[in-house]
Each structure stands twice: as structure tokens, then as C-alpha cells.
Symmetry: C2
Subunit: 127 residues, 2 copies
DNA sequence: TATTGACATCAAGTGCACTTTAGGATATAA
DNA sequence: TTATATCCTAAAGTGCACTTGATGTCAATA
């Protein structure tokens, strides 16, 4: 079973130009071509794309993903490095979660603050 | 009590050029100047900067912050709009948290997967 | 056979958020 | 008074991640 770039786009939520862009950046070294030069995505390629989505959505730069993929191509000897990279990234995700949670309370506080002001104004009007 | 731009930078963690940039973008309409034209930040300005940090770090674009500040300048009549904006942003933060948590498990899974492979390789070597 | 639609490449363009550079004024310390 | 530090502006530059536009090929349909 193989998919066109349009299929791949629909399956992953990435735009077609973005997928092409990722390929030129070396993020999709496995994708085969048809006789006429069209990309043919297999299920593994779709999985790759989903992993890329995951890493990009959590803030990993394209160049790091490229590095990661380079290590995958090199084979088993790079398992440790790959593990390290992912572990680092997990840490980074946790930091983002902390930052977000921290600022989330600040925003909440501000919302309550404005609600208080609003209430005050309303009561003033009703005097 | 008033602070130089360097002080403001140290208190907020923003770089000096970033603070200047925010001012040119209209994010700091209150900051006074000394006779010689130097910026003088009061405590409220520092608080403003901290709010800007909060909003920026949680993904609010500069132009939205500008809009928000514009509403603050307009006065009480904009309280509802400000509340709406912050509530929207809170929602956005929650979405980011969901996304991050979702992908966090994917990364965890991948880490465990590589750990499994690693173990397998080690055992193969030890045969 | 002419048109339509999906695919391709390549180069250039876009948007955002800063950062850097160049040139100059002012204040404090040696 | 000369050097050093800090401030200023305005304009240009940077980095990243795409996106868009121009041009062309190929296969199926009207």
C-alpha cells in the first residue's frame, strides 16, 4: 500500500509544501518515487511524518530532527545517542509544561483581577 | 524609585534590545524619559514587562499584546474585551498543555522502545 | 484531442521576533 | 581630561519555518 503526497498530507495534517520542504531538508530519506517521479509514501513513511509532527509540535528544530534521522540511518551504533536526544527532548517538554503551568496561573490571576474590576464598575453604576 | 533599561533587563530577563524593540512596537507606552532621553522604568513598568513576558512565553504574538495594551489605554469601557482576550488566551494555554502532554507520552513511548532495542543488542552481544 | 487535476522542481517571498551595526550623546571614574 | 560605561536612534541583518509563484510533466476525463 502506498500513498500520494496528498494522502500523506491528509493523514498527518501537514501541508503538501511542508512535506516537500521536509524532504529537501533531509527529513524523509526513505520516501520512494514512482517511475514518473512522484513521491510514494508507505506506512512507515507516514509513521515517520507523525514522529516529525510530534517533535516539531513540541519545539524540536528541524535541524535536530535531521540529526536524529541521520543517526537512525547510521544504525544500531547510534542507539545511545538517539536515546540521549529523546531524553533531552523529554526534559525540554517538561520544562515547557512547567513554564506553561506557571504562567497559566498568572493569567488566571489577571482574569480574576479584571473580573473584580468589572464587578466594581457594575456596582458603581447600580448605585 | 526608577530603573535604567539595564535594571529592567536584569529584573525581567529580557535583553536590552528586546525591551527597546517592545517599546517601538508600542508595548510600553508608559515608560518615561529622563532629561537626557534615557528610559526610566518605574515599578509598574516592570510589572508590565513581566506581564509581557508571561504572554509572550505562552505564545501570544506581539501584535495581540499591543492590542491588549491599546485597550488598557482606552480605559474601563474595554474591560469586557480584555477579559475575553485573556480568557481566549487561557484556552490557548490549555490547548498547548494538552498537545504537550499528548506528545510527551509519544516521546516516552519512543524512549522505552529504544531502551528495549538497546537491551536486546546488549543481550545479543553477551551470548 | 483538449482540458483538467495532481504531481514535480526551483527560486523567491513571507512573517515573526528579535539582534546587530553604525554613529552619536552623556555621565562617572581615574 | 581622557577613558570607560551606559545610554540613545535608525536601519539593516538574522534565523527559522514555512509558503508562494512560475513553469512544466503526466495521466485520466469530456
Amino acid at each position: 500500500m502506498s500513498y500520494t503526497i496528498k494522502d500523506a498530507s491528509q493523514k498527518t495534517g501537514l501541508t503538501i509544501p511542508t512535506i516537500r520542504y521536509y524532504e529537501t531538508e533531509g527529513l524523509l530519506p526513505y520516501v520512494k518515487r514512482s517511475e514518473t517521479g512522484n513521491r510514494m509514501f508507505c506506512d512507515d513513511d507516514i509513521e515517520w511524518l507523525n514522529l516529525i509532527c510530534c517533535l516539531r509540535s513540541t519545539g524540536m528544530p528541524v535541524r535536530y530532527i535531521k540529526k536524529f534521522i541521520g543517526m537512525c540511518l547510521e544504525g544500531d551504533s547510534t542507539i545511545d545517542n538517539r536515546l540521549e536526544m529523546l531524553t533531552e527532548h523529554e526534559k525540554y517538554i517538561n520544562e515547557q509544561l512547567e513554564t506553561l503551568n506557571h504562567y497559566k496561573s498568572a493569567v488566571k490571576w489577571k482574569i480574576d483581577y479584571f473580573k473584580g474590576i468589572k464587578k466594581e464598575i457594575d456596582e458603581r453604576v447600580n448605585l
